[in-house]
Every structure is written in C-alpha cells, then in structure tokens.
C-alpha cells in the first residue's frame, strides 16, 4: 500500500494495517474510519473489520477508533491547516498526496442554506487510488482521425470509470504514440480535483508531459482561461452539465481547440434530452460519442458513435475488438 496513505494514520492504526499480509494490503480499496467504531476495510465487494494484531474479521472487532485518533487523522490529512481546506470541506473530500481521496462526514455548517463547511469531522473514508495505465489505449484509434484527435463526449453513469478513462486518454494524447502522432498540448480544467488529483497544484496522477492543469476552477471560466493563457491543442474536462459549460465548449471549438469531455448519463439519448446541453447537439459539435457501462466491470465500452450517431468502424488494418 502507498506509504502516503499510511502516513495519514496514527501509529497504532498504521501498525495494525502493516501487520496485514502484503497481498491483502495491496488489494485494499477503502479504509473507513468512524469514531468509536471499529475500522472497516473494503476489499473488492467484501467488507471486513481490522483487529489490533492486523487480521481481518467479519464481525466488528474490539479495536475501536478513539476521538483522539480522529483528531490525529484530521491533523495529518489537513497538515494542521483546516483553513487551507475551505473548498475541500465544502465538497466533502480531500485529495492527499498520491491522488488518494479522503471522504469526510460530520456536522455541516450552513450559511444562507448553503453548505459552508463540515466541522466536527467524525467519519473518514480513505479511497485508495490505483491508476490503470493504458485502459484508454484500445479506444484511442476510434477517437482520432488523420492523427488528429476528434471532439469526443464520454457518456457514463457514475462509477463506470469515465474519469479514469478520460485521465488515461489525456495522458496518451499528451504523451503521443511513437509511430502515429507526437503528443498534443492538453489543457485540463479540473473543477472537482478528480482528474489530476492535484495537491498544491501539482497533479498526483500521471497526465503526460504536455498537460497543463487548472485545478479547482469552474469549468466554464477555466476553459476560456486556459485557451487564452496556455494555447492548448486539446482541452479536457469532467462532468459537463450546465448551460455555461456548453457555451464554453462552443467557444473553445470556435477557437480551433479540440475538446474531450464527459457527462453523466446511461445513453446518448439521456444527454440529448438535457436542455442545457442542447446547443452542443444543435450544432453537432461532437465527432465521437463513447458510452460506458459496468456490464463487464467498470470501464466497459458499450458503444462508440460518430457525429451522426452511427457506430464507428475502424478502417482496415487498425485494431478491432476494443470492448
């Protein structure tokens, strides 16, 4: 397990975790900490409780997280600076070094019926990030034409790997393929700090050597800022939805920049029905649509369609069987 996650735990929890056999430790997907409750460890679809001597049990163990432990964890993940996490406390999660996520819950403070921050943080969910290099590789030939990227919309329900896919596509485009194309300058607007997992502005995921990231910036403004300031050839952002997002994407296209974005939905029809995104379809800006599902596990590619919503066939001589 990444030592950067381990360093977020107080000594006794760290030791208990390190007592686990190495293969198990590597498989951990989530570590859930709740004050006055045992520690839950999630592997795949199973959940266990951690005992003090480092074993996983089905029943709740007597190894309980104390409030002092919670305080320590909070100190370690916030680096003693709650004030530096204002945005994060509003969103309910913190990105730590290594791109791992810590989800938070506790008492919410509201100002004018908006969530201002979470205080008295009592629940932590450490989600271990695992990069899946090259999951975008089989798909890439479908999204390029004459070695130029095509404007692409990735459509997927939550937890189907759209962010992971987009991240890998960014990395591949930015790195370039030895025989096919040299890399592109990619601009990423990462509103929810999910794509790049930035820590102090430095991406914790590999996004390739030609990628610039605008972290925690609203998409609509960020896209224009990037285009003005960083002259990208491709811009990418996650989870478009609002009217202003659509406008910004249109503006980007008029600036001659290629666009790769994702949206929540389970089919193309879902997205077409969303009134805010209508302008995008009226001028049929996207040249490729990719639909994802969980049918064969996260990241299953259901369909790739062209601008006229027909399934895409690869030209002869290129790789087939991408799904």
């Amino acid at each position: 397990m990444d030592s950067r996650i381990l360093s977020c735990f107080p000594q006794r929890i760290k030791e208990a975790l390190l007592h686990l056999p190495l293969p198990l430790l590597e498989q951990i997907e989530e570590i859930r900490i709740r004050i006055n409750q045992p520690i839950e460890v999630v592997l795949g679809s199973h959940s266990y409780f951690l005992s003090e001597d480092g074993r996983l049990k089905k029943e709740p163990d007597r190894f309980i997280v104390t409030p002092a432990d919670g305080e320590k964890i909070l100190n370690l993940i916030s680096r003693h600076s709650l004030y530096a996490l204002e945005e994060e406390l509003k969103r309910g999660y913190i990105t730590i070094s290594g791109g791992h996520r810590v989800g938070l819950a506790g008492k919410v403070v509201r100002v004018d019926s908006r969530v201002e921050l979470i205080k008295h943080i009592r629940f932590f969910n450490f989600r271990v990030a695992r990069p899946l290099p090259d999951i975008g590789k089989p798909l890439l030939p479908f999204l390029m034409s004459h070695n130029e990227p095509l404007n692409t919309l990735i459509i997927s329900p939550p937890r189907c790997g759209k962010t992971t896919l987009l991240r890998d596509l960014i990395r591949l485009l930015s790195t370039g393929m030895k025989d096919d194309f040299s890399g592109f300058r990619v601009g990423v607007v990462d509103e929810r700090s999910e794509l790049a997992g930035c820590l102090d502005g430095v991406p914790q995921y590999d996004l390739g050597p030609r990628t610039d990231v605008l972290d925690a910036c609203p998409k609509a403004e960020g896209l224009m800022m990037l285009i003005r300031s960083m002259s990208p050839q491709v811009v990418a952002c996650d989870e478009i939805g609002g009217k202003r997002d659509a406008e910004a994407i249109l503006a980007a296209l008029h600036a001659g920049v290629k666009v790769i974005v994702t949206a929540h939905g389970s089919s193309l029809e879902d997205i077409r029905c969303r009134p805010d995104l209508k302008p995008l379809f009226e001028s049929s800006v996207f040249e490729r649509y990719v639909v994802l599902s969980r049918r064969k596990g996260a990241g299953t590619v259901e369909q790739v369609m062209d601008a006229h919503h027909h399934p895409v066939q690869l030209r002869a001589g290129r790789r087939k069987n991408y799904a």
């Binding site: 735990f9 107080p10 000594q11 305080e71 320590k72 964890i73 100190n75 370690l76 916030s78 680096r79 003693h80 600076s81 709650l82 004030y83 530096a84 204002e86 921050l117």
Partner: protein, 172 residues
C-alpha cells in the same frame, strides 16, 4: 587580599545581575517586535495564500534570525515529524524547547499559548480574526515594554552597581 578579592567578586556579581535584568527588558521589547512582524507575515500566508501551517512556519523560520523565528521553525519541525500530534502539542513543545531564550513575561506567554490552541483549527476568516486579536494585544504589550525599558533600564544597571557597593560597605 582574599577579602578584597571576595568583595570585588560581590560587586561584579551584583552589577552583572543588574545588567542582565536590563538586558531582559530590552530583549522582551525586541522579541515582541519580532513576533508582531512574524504574525503579520503569517496573516498574509494564511489569509491570502492559504499556505499549510507547517510550510508557513518553515518559511517564517527561514526568513527571520531571532529567537521567535527559531520558535516557529522548531514548531514546523514538530508539525512535520511527529505522529499526528495536535497542533497545540507541537506548539507547546516548541515553546518548551525555546523557553531559555524567551525573554517574555507570563502574560505574553499566556497569549502565545492561546495562539497555539487556535492556530490552524478553523477557517480563514476566523484565523484572520484570531491573529488580529493577538496582534492587538502584542502591540499593547510592546508599547508597555518600551516604556518599561525607558524607565527601568538605567535603574537596573545603576541599582546593580550601587547595590553591590552597599553590600560591600555593610560587610566592611
């Protein structure tokens, strides 16, 4: 002969005590001023820069050369290197380490202690208020320290010499 040596040692010691007390006064003024300057930088770091505490403290420690800067550097070290100590615990430990060098009064130290309890533990606006409040108190304390220095520095020094002489006279 031995008597003479003892007496001169007495005068020397009491003079030294006088000078030391005067030096403490001057040093307190100095340290309060340094603390105020550092707080100002810290305020900027926290309020406008949202810099994490340990990083901000490191920077403060590097920028200054005085005792207070060392105090912050010490605290930054504990923030980085201890297993989940609370911020307050790190701050306390740093103060304990620097205790011999701090020429501050009990009231000043109480404020420093309070600072350790609130720093880092709330949102930016709140931090800003805490630092402002502390700065107000320290400014007041510095003013008092200046006046005290003005009035009492010379007094301590002369009192030291004269006191020594008095004891010598009484002994003879």
């Amino acid at each position: 002969m031995l008597k003479l040596f003892g007496l001169s040692l007495l005068i020397f010691a009491s003079t030294a005590i006088g000078f030391y007390l005067a030096h403490r006064l001057r040093e307190r003024c100095h340290q309060l001023g340094e603390l105020l300057r550092i707080l100002q930088v810290l305020e900027t770091e926290i309020y406008y820069g949202s810099t994490p505490l340990s990083e901000a403290f490191h920077r403060l420690g590097e920028q200054g050369e005085g005792v207070v800067a060392r105090l912050f550097a010490r605290c930054a070290y504990y923030l980085d290197h201890t297993d989940g100590w609370t911020t307050y615990a790190c701050w306390r430990q740093a103060i304990v380490d620097m205790e011999p060098y701090l020429a501050l009064k009990q009231s000043d130290k109480a404020w420093l202690d309070h600072f350790g309890k609130v720093i880092g533990g709330s949102d930016r606006l709140d931090q800003h208020k805490h630092i402002r409040l502390l700065a107000t108190h320290l400014t007041q304390a510095e003013k008092e320290a200046q006046q005290e220095l003005h009035k009492q520095e010379k007094m301590y020094k002369t009192l030291g010499i004269l006191g020594g002489l008095l004891i010598v006279i009484l002994l003879i």
